[in-house]
């Protein structure tokens, strides 16, 4: 292994495994919000006159909640704080003076850092899928699972692109912690990470078509729970690639402008 990006990727993997306790707590922390939501939906459905809310049966809603939580955990980057720190404390310097680009380096390290959580998330999702097949008699084909795998990887990359674009704001604003708080929450909601986007109604759903967010959580969930046909699922991959391409151009432009503003504080 001699390529700088391959080594960055591998360091990302090694780094993520260094603190095992923290790593597992990350997954353990998933269950609390899931439980809260399960009780919430139970209450909502038990008082509803219709067994089908926003196009989801109770069972489908539960599956959505669990799968969405797992995926949002997987695609979450935390990159904004990381990049903000690099910009504010001069950590960016070490990339500017070495013959390696900040963006390719970051994405390699980040993807490397995701390998283990990716594997664990897949296993947990497989559990959910088996449960669905067994109890709900939901027909899930092997090809659908394969397509889902691709969609999931692209979702991880897409969310990296979104985070990377958003974090460039740190070049212009000195204190951005609340800004990132708000954007993270909005992106989580717009991505369908908390509840299905259908709840917003038709007008909003149409609006979300013009944003990249739903391709990170909402659409992947709908691929695995069977709401989308296989053909529609392939279409999701197309749109994910399109958004990744567009954001790539956008971040390239923003960062070229931003780096000239960079003041490398300290000293």
């Amino acid at each position: 292994m001699n390529n700088k990006f391959a080594v960055s990727f591998s360091l990302g993997i090694q780094n993520s495994m260094e603190y095992r306790f923290n790593f597992f707590m990350g997954f353990a922390s998933l269950f609390f919000p899931i439980f809260i939501q399960l009780f919430l939906w139970k209450a909502v459905y038990s008082h509803a006159s219709n067994m089908n809310l926003y196009g989801y049966t109770y069972r489908q809603m539960i599956v959505y909640t669990i799968v969405a939580a797992l995926i949002s955990r997987l695609v979450a980057t935390g990159l904004e704080y990381d990049i903000n720190h690099d910009i504010k404390s001069g950590g960016l310097n070490k990339y500017l003076v070495r013959p390696i680009g900040y963006f390719p380096y970051k994405i390699c390290v980040y993807l490397g850092g995701k390998v283990l959580s990716f594997a664990i998330t897949l296993i947990m999702l497989l559990g959910v899928v088996l449960f669905m097949v067994y109890y709900f008699k939901a027909p899930i084909s092997v090809s659908r699972i394969l397509v889902f795998g691709v969609v999931l990887i692209l979702a991880v990359v897409l969310n990296f692109m979104i985070s990377f674009s958003v974090s460039a704001i740190a070049f212009w604003l000195t204190d951005v912690s609340y800004f990132f708080h708000v954007t993270a929450l909005l992106i989580q909601i717009f991505s369908g990470g908390i509840f299905p986007l259908d709840i917003f109604g038709a007008a909003w759903l149409a609006f979300f078509d013009y944003l990249p967010f739903k391709y990170t959580i909402y659409m992947p969930v709908n691929v695995i729970n069977g709401k989308l046909t296989l053909l529609q699922a392939l279409h999701v991959i197309e749109l994910q690639l399109l958004w990744i391409g567009l954001l790539l151009l956008l971040t390239r432009y923003i960062w070229t402008v931003a780096i000239k503003k960079y003041i490398a504080v300290g000293g």
Partner: protein, 327 residues
């Protein structure tokens, strides 16, 4: 000539706020924008193999200058050429020929052993396998850190970490090394180790070295040439020992008496720096000291007379107070 700097300038914008809540509220709506000239028309040349120190008080513009020379910052005026490249073009060919080490920043991964970060640098700088092995071997021997290569960086002491940082910066055999306070926060022994290493390294490879430091010892030990910067302006460029000669040509005369001598009787010879009745330290003009020492011998019960230069630290401190260039 490996570094050519001409009228290099950098200014930053900042805001000011007067004390008090009223002014905080005022600042929410309107802020007065101020500009600070961190580096103001600095020019100098540095030859291959030279070891040059940047000296100056905090905020003088030393680090800002280094950051521009390494391409981290864009200047707001003037030009610089390092190894024939304009640093802020950030060409990869240029990056492969220099290194910058910042005492307070680290490039090593804290949670992994240094060997991992070093290997990453090998790949980033595209160093051949054999060359990497040899260089690493040599550097860890010189620094005596072989046994620490596989320890998580977080668990190393500050001095050990600095050594690893230096190794990471030297792996690709840079022709120029910028060092921004490489010994900051280190204990005396570690400081000495780092200094000795830098000296040996410069001697062996004729690497050009530019360093900033607050420790006089670093500078006296390592660098013949010193560039003093104050408030963004270059105030002195030359041999550190000669700062004194430039500085007003003054000497210190220390007199010890067998009986108490009145303060006012001594004041005619020069300014009194210290006085205790039996002892006095006077600052006198270099041209006058012969005359004054004779006068002292004749008029006072002198039992000992000493002449010395003004201490270097003090000479430099005075240099900081001078607004216009010297030398």
């Amino acid at each position: 000539m490996v570094i050519h700097v001409d009228q290099l300038s950098k200014s930053f914008d900042y805001y000011k706020k007067e004390t008090g809540i009223r002014n905080s509220v005022k600042n929410l709506f309107h802020r007065e924008k101020l500009t600070k000239d961190a580096v103001n028309k600095v020019s100098f040349d540095i030859n291959e193999g030279e070891m040059v120190a940047f000296l100056g008080p905090n905020g003088a513009g030393k680090t800002t200058t280094l950051k521009m020379l390494s391409g981290i910052l864009y200047p707001s005026g003037g030009s610089a050429e390092v190894l024939g490249y304009t640093p802020w073009d950030r060409k990869n060919d240029f990056k492969k020929q220099f290194s910058i080490v910042m005492g307070q920043k680290n490039q090593l991964w804290l949670d992994l052993p240094a060997s991992d970060s070093l290997y990453l640098n090998k790949c980033i700088y595209e160093i051949g396998d054999q060359k990497y092995k040899d260089t690493l071997d040599e550097l860890v021997t010189l620094m005596d850190v072989r046994h620490l290569l596989h320890v998580q960086v977080r668990r190393l002491s500050l001095g050990e970490r600095m050594k690893m940082e230096l190794i990471a910066a030297l792996l690709h055999r840079p022709r120029i090394i910028f060092l921004d306070e490489p010994t900051i926060g280190l204990d005396l022994v570690s400081q000495k180790n780092i200094r000795e290493f830098l000296k040996a390294y410069n001697h062996e490879f004729r690497t050009t070295l530019l360093l900033t430091s607050h420790y006089m010892k670093d500078i006296e030990d390592l660098c013949k040439r010193t560039i003093v910067i104050n408030q963004g302006k270059l105030v002195y460029d030359g041999e550190i020992r000669k700062i004194n000669e430039v500085m007003n040509e003054k000497k210190r005369m220390k007199l010890t008496f067998s009986a108490i001598v009145e303060r006012k009787d001594l004041a005619v010879m020069g300014s009194i720096k210290e006085y205790s009745g039996h002892e006095v330290i006077l600052e006198v003009e270099r041209t006058k000291f012969k005359e004054y020492s004779r006068m002292a011998m004749d008029h006072f019960p002198v039992i000992d007379l000493n002449l010395e230069d003004i201490p270097l630290e003090e000479a430099i401190a005075r240099l900081y107070e001078q607004p216009e260039p010297q030398g």
